[in-house]
Point group: C2
């Protein structure tokens, strides 16, 4: 049996890139990913996927078309499918994502920040 626990801080120490989610767990067709945010991401939405962002360290600002909200360590937000959003981190933030395995990071937007395949750490 290969049930192995995952230590978030240890996994975060294994990579440095920003906006490049790493897969650290898988269940029920969903992926658990870790990502380091820094600076602004691109405006996008996901047609079919709801997306959970849980802040493990630091904080970031989630921008929507009509408002924005800071998400702090120990807080999460679920962005429903179809809702345009843009995460912005003024300082580096460590975030755990929970979303379907099919999710592409830039969703509707595509472009240079798209990660077509994700590494596991």
């Amino acid at each position: 049996m290969s049930v192995e626990k995952v230590n978030l801080a240890e996994k975060f120490s294994l990579f440095g890139e920003h906006w490049s989610p790493k897969i650290v767990g898988e269940l029920n067709g969903q992926h658990v990913k870790l990502v380091k945010l820094f600076g602004p991401f691109v405006w996008h939405h996901h047609d079919e996927e709801d997306e959970l962002f849980l802040v493990v360290r630091g904080r970031f600002r989630m921008e929507y078309r009509d408002r924005e909200e800071w998400i702090e360590a120990g807080e999460f937000v679920v962005v429903p499918r179809g809702v345009e959003h843009r995460p912005v981190a003024e300082e580096e933030a460590h975030v755990m994502l929970f979303e379907p395995a099919s999710t592409v990071n830039t969703g509707s937007a595509g472009g240079g920040m798209t990660q077509e395949t994700l590494d596991r750490v």
Copy 2:
């Protein structure tokens, strides 16, 4: 648009019962739940659901039939469907669960610790 962030500590402050998961989020047919562990749970498995346990505060011991492992704050474990397990907390532990909306806490075991319907907090 009703995208509201969730503060884990605030939600944990809203209830005291042990082994009584509260729903705090929903996405892609999955529930995010918070639960306070204290003492031993019952041995059980889930036929159809993989289950994620992320420790937010404290720690607990996950027992399997052939071994056991302590899961500490900042760590998570995914217990795959079919795998018998029993969480045991020697001191109160605060845990976030991620699992399909269909999941019943005691899985295969049933019995007095079963929570048929879950509150939202």
